[in-house]
């Protein structure tokens, strides 16, 4: 069977590096304009970690202003007279900060980390392919993301500064320079995101084609590792959501530059149309930012608990359900926008329903570690933190889904707390888990576990000190995107809490340096990684670390699902997907996960 498969199922076998065959590609082809999905994944990793640091720095500036309003940032003079004279942040710069923090984190850090890095790293290896379906398109995807990022950074340095209409860029504020005081910056913001959209689109086309067409023999849909399911559904969401954003951005750009009036009411434009278009993209985007994280966490939890994932099928269907429901809930961002209240009631119902698959996932993760054999390695710690934090983010979502309660908490710090519990407590902990987990596979060296544990502990503590009190700020009525809360008398008593949050935020930021140090140090000095340091089942762990160009020397054949841990009757508590059952003893033959 396997010989037939090599020929019929996988002609890209011709790409495969032969063992011992010297890799004679030039440095440029190997590391810069590489078409190797692993290298592209690493490129995305470096790029998005840089943007994560930039976004984090912007957050520090925001927290400085909120913690100590109107005082000079030590050394803040370098920001320039137009932004922060003498180190004191100006309101217009503050608006740019909140806008660009959101933009960088969502579009240039979390999204490329989850989709760009783990999509590239994992898809071909997990499904047993030599590379992506379209390797050159893959390279183009990365090299399109780079100029998009550069344009976004450049917008800080043009006259009028960077975009300042919020990451949601509500028109008319975003469309008319006289309203925001931002000129070229807002246009560059649109252009950058349009360019980035092309990058995402190329990635999505590649991922979908690869997952559908290039699975190794025996890699049935219901044997796919959950990260691949999540990335597959995510790619579909990207594919269908990004073009809507691109369309909306183009209309906005025309309003800014060509004198059209799509979103400008004096000439019949519809400001709410921007919101509908934006959130029609924006809500699937929310799931683009969390589904892959859920997939990574499932993988790590099952591995760390040495136990099959609880309810694999329910997990898959939960992902699919979230992706479908994600298209009919966008209006819950607009309950207070002036949209018809009856329509709001409809959106409330669909939004409430989408809480159910998320609940299923949380309970199934609990089921996974129940009666497990839990190894607290660094990826596992981060994955457990994901579960603990995602619960908070998910539950706080119920408050804003309830339309009457949303009247109060909409656009307050409660929302800020919620989004950060999902995107930081959720996605970012999953990303940390994923990086610690797969770093050895792609760089050939282990990350230092002691530094990893210190980083995790400090991040977990300071993270909660930053974002948990934000719920309270919101419940006391503190709005988002307020340059100086003390303008409002009723917010003056909130200042101590704001200062506490800012102190914790600065410490949280500082703690990330441990990760950076660990990352860089481990690249060169880390302990050499064995092929399978976590005793994991999926296909990439059968390969050397790092895998050779072309990945698999011989076509792998898959005999079972990826979560066959602690199977009774086997000496080892793991069972690689490509290990033929004959070696494994007959006791478990015919059981679930084993080909009948």
């Amino acid at each position: 069977m396997s010989t037939v498969s090599v020929e019929v199922g996988h002609p890209s076998v011709q790409h495969w590096a032969e063992p011992g065959h010297p890799d004679d590609r030039s440095f440029l082809r190997k590391y810069v304009f590489s078409t190797d999905h692993k290298v592209i994944g690493c490129q995305f990793l470096i790029l998005s970690l840089v943007f994560l640091l930039i976004g984090g720095t912007l957050a520090m500036l925001i927290r400085w202003q909120l913690g100590w309003p109107g005082t000079a940032i030590p050394g803040g003079g370098i920001l320039g007279e137009a932004k922060a004279p003498g180190g004191i942040i100006l309101p217009e710069f503050y608006n740019s900060l909140v806008t660009m923090h959101g933009t960088f984190m969502i579009f240039f850090a979390i999204m490329p980390l989850l989709v760009g890095v783990f999509g590239n790293w994992l898809i071909p290896l997990h499904i047993g392919a030599a590379d992506m379906a379209f390797p050159r398109l893959n390279m183009a995807s990365f090299w399109t993301a780079v100029p998009a990022g550069l344009i976004m950074i450049a917008s800080f340095f043009v006259t009028g500064g960077a975009a300042a209409a919020g990451w949601t860029a509500y028109a008319p504020l975003s469309a008319v320079p006289e309203y925001s005081g931002v000129y070229l910056g807002q246009e560059l913001w649109c252009i950058s995101l349009i360019v980035l959209g092309f990058s995402s689109l190329m990635g999505a086309v590649n991922y979908i084609t690869t997952i559908v067409n290039m699975r190794a023999p025996g890699m049935k849909w219901m044997r796919l590792p959950l990260p691949i399911w999540a990335l597959f559904i995510t790619a579909i969401l990207v594919l269908l959501a990004i073009p809507v954003l691109t369309g909306a951005l183009i209309l906005l750009l025309f309003d800014q530059t060509l004198g059209t009036t799509f979103f400008l009411p004096p000439d019949g434009g519809q400001p709410l149309m921007w919101q509908h278009l934006f959130w029609y993209f924006g809500h699937p985007e929310v799931y683009i930012l969390i589904l892959p994280a859920m997939g990574l966490v499932s993988e790590v939890l099952s591995n760390g608990a040495r136990k099959p994932i609880f309810g694999y099928k329910f997990m898959v269907w939960a992902i699919v359900a979230i992706a479908f429901l994600g298209w009919i809930v966008w209006g819950h961002h607009m309950f207070q926008s002036g949209m018809n209240p009856y329509l709001g009631a409809t959106f409330m119902t669909s939004t409430m329903i989408i809480a159910v698959p998320s609940a299923i996932k949380v309970f199934n993760w609990l089921g996974t570690i129940y009666k497990g054999d839990i190894h607290f390695h660094v990826p596992m710690l981060n994955a457990l933190a994901f579960v603990a934090m995602f619960v908070i983010g998910g539950l706080s979502g119920v408050f804003m889904a309830s339309t009457p309660v949303d009247i109060f908490i909409h656009d307050t710090y409660f929302i800020v707390a919620h989004i950060h519990y999902v995107l930081f407590g959720g996605s970012l902990f999953a990303i940390f888990a994923g990086i610690y987990f797969w770093f050895p596979k792609f760089f050939g060296r282990m990350m230092n576990p002691t530094l990893g544990k210190i980083h995790f502990l400090l991040t977990f503590v300071f993270y909660n000190l930053v974002f948990f009190p934000m719920h309270n700020l919101g419940l006391d009525g503190m709005m988002r995107r307020i340059y100086d809360p003390n303008q409002y008398e009723y917010m003056v008593p909130l200042q101590p809490m704001n200062t506490l949050i800012s102190v914790a935020a600065l410490l949280l930021g500082a703690a990330q340096l441990i990760f950076v140090v660990n990352f860089v140090w481990s690249l060169w000095r880390g302990e050499k990684a064995p092929p399978n340091p976590w005793n994991a089942n999926s296909l990439e762990w059968t390969l050397p670390s790092p895998p050779p160009h072309g990945n698999f020397v011989a076509m792998p054949t898959v005999y079972r699902g990826p979560y066959e841990y602690s199977v009774p009757g086997r000496e080892a508590d793991f069972w690689p997907q490509d290990e033929p059952p004959a070696e494994a003893g007959r006791r478990s033959a015919g059981r679930e996960g084993v080909p009948a």
């Binding site: 100006l90 309101p91 217009e92 608006n95 919020g166 509500y170 008319p172 504020l173 008319v176 309203y179 925001s180 005081g181 009411p265 099959p308 609880f310 309810g311 329910f314 207070q336 002036g338 209240p341 009856y342 709001g344 409330m348 329903i353 299923i360 949380v362 609990l366 089921g367 009666k371 054999d373 839990i374 190894h375 607290f376 457990l384 603990a388 619960v391 706080s396 889904a401 309830s402 009457p404 309660v405 009247i407 109060f408 656009d411 009190p469 309270n472 009525g477 709005m479 340059y483 100086d484 809360p485 409002y488 009723y490 101590p496 809490m497 841990y565 602690s566 009774p568 508590d573 996960g593």
Partner: protein, 267 residues
């Protein structure tokens, strides 16, 4: 520092109903939160790795999974059902629950101020005795108020935290807002939607009077407005910088005159 999860005292009729849903959700989510987090910690401790122990080999339990699919579904549907009625009551201002004698007001938002048009003594808008106050909302207690909310430039959000009122003001749209104050006092009014560089100080005050006091106030202000000749310019805009530290600016504006302000002052 206020670590409790209580909302500020509500001072509108539907405010306490909104709060009761909030507290219901708070209780439900708190219970789920505690269950999940405790289970997580207990499992972590109880099933930590020890030599010679093996994890149980199980792929799940369909019965359990159906339970935790159905139970959350029922819970959220109950919450949605309970929310629905209060939502319609709070947000729909053109149905029977808003009394006929509601005080009609017009609030026009612009960068960065709230202009409130009062009907004057005749109780009707668009008549000669209308007058405009900037950043000041004066209301009688125990009487519904119905506001036509508009914006002249960008999207603002009309936020009265104590009344549980929040509604975006959208240029090109007139959005009805209603509520009924239940307690006399001074309350904040703020802008909750990023609207430009002065967003953070686009605030005003709400003063809820006893009915007689409100009538007297309306009478006084109406007369002042009638006496005051339409000035070619007013102090608005000039004191915007001062406004960032001083209390909310006050002033009378004859209705014929757009309250002047360059709006988007640039430093």
């Amino acid at each position: 520092m206020n670590w409790n999860w209580l909302l500020p005292e509500p001072v509108s009729t539907f405010g306490s109903e909104i709060d009761s849903i909030y507290y219901l959700i708070l209780v439900i989510t708190a219970v789920i939160f505690v269950i999940v987090e405790v289970a997580l910690v207990v499992f972590m401790v109880k099933y930590r790795h020890r030599e010679g122990r093996r994890a149980e080999y199980s792929h799940g339990n369909t019965k359990l999974e159906v339970v935790w699919t159905v139970v959350p579904f029922i819970l959220v549907m109950v919450i949605a059902w309970m929310s629905m009625r209060v939502w319609i009551e709070a947000k729909v201002a053109d149905r029977g629950h808003v009394s006929e004698d509601a005080l009609p007001l017009r609030v026009a938002a612009k960068q960065f101020e709230w202009n409130v048009t009062y009907p004057g003594l005749d109780g009707e808008l668009d008549t000669a005795d209308d007058f405009v106050k900037r950043n000041q909302l004066h209301l009688p207690v125990g009487r519904a108020v119905r506001i036509d909310l508009t914006s002249e430039d960008v999207i603002h959000s009309f936020f009265l935290p104590d009344f549980r009122v929040k509604q975006d003001a959208v240029p090109g749209m007139v959005i009805p807002v209603w509520f009924q104050p239940t307690a006399v006092g001074e309350y904040p009014l703020g802008c909750a939607e990023l609207c430009g560089l002065g967003h953070y100080r686009m605030r005003g005050s709400v003063t809820v009077h006893e009915v007689e006091a409100f009538d007297a106030w309306m009478l006084q202000e109406g007369q002042d407005a009638a006496v005051e000749t339409p000035a070619p310019a007013d102090t608005a805009g000039v004191d915007l910088e001062a406004a960032s530290t001083a209390p909310a600016p006050e002033g009378n504006h004859p209705p014929s005159h757009q309250p002047a302000s360059e709006g988007k002052e640039r430093a």
